[in-house]
Amino acid sequence: MAAPIKVGDKIPFGLTFTTSANATETGACAIPQVCILPIDTKMSDKLKEHITQPIKSEDALGKGKVILVAVPGAFTPTCHLQHLPGFIQHADAFKAKGISKIYVTSTNDIFVLDAWGKHEKAGDAVSFLADGNGAFAAAIGFSLDLSAKGMGAVRTKRYAIVVEDGVVTYVGEGDLDVSGAEAVLAKL
């Protein structure tokens, strides 16, 4: 595992996250089964809306001012009650401070993350990035081994980082006093 990421470091490029194909469509599963028609044209924008696209770390976090929030597990008690809702509630305040996107990640698969977001009525306030194999968590030095708790060795620590054009400007790893929405807002 890499050393923990700190302010001034660049976000590691080349890592891939899975995203939902229909984040705002309630009641639909993250990646509905489809057959792509073998037509000759380039993939239309309309089709892209319905097909899940894996997203590279440089594309999600490399441009603009964004926040990446990580939770050890979707639906797990602390995150469920306190961490995610804060970012949904304060979405407009973050936008006002120049944040173009709030990403939420965990090592769950996208089906779980997407269902969690829909359950919490996230809408388009946050976007979910599934780091299923924990590769991104390892690359920034925030892997978490929860096998002692029966939750597997490939988890991520709880954190919130602010990234500006691919460079980290804030790292809040730990409890909500540093990784929660209010803590991050205060630092912007």
Binding site: A21, E25, G27, A28, P32, Q33, V34, C35, I36, L37, I39, T41, M43, S44, K46, L47, H50, I51
Partner: protein, 132 residues
Amino acid sequence: MLRFATRKFTTTTAVKSSTPTAWALGSIVERGDSDFKKTIAEAGTTPVLVDFYADWCGPCRMLAPILKKVVSIESPKTFLIKVNTDEAVETASEFGVSALPTVGIFKSGKLVDQFVGLRDEKFVKEFIERNL
């Protein structure tokens, strides 16, 4: 001799495209490039569910019985037109169908909503309800 115009009300049986006006609520019909637009026009303000599918597409085969069940309920609010995209190539292309299944809802001749990919019964029911 008196002549009465008679109307035949079909219910839930699938009807092939040889019967041009059998589009009563709850019915399932097959249409192609030659008669799709005509049927949509004839439906007027009645909402019409359209299933763009292909025989080789697994998710389409899984969606078909779900659509059939939801459309053929006791008090049907719509009817279903099935369009085979391998045969009705022009119609599929006109409505930008690039993945299957694509299910659209038409009202007064216009496509007002659609979804792409397999869904469950609950989703399909809500999809129809919010577009009635």
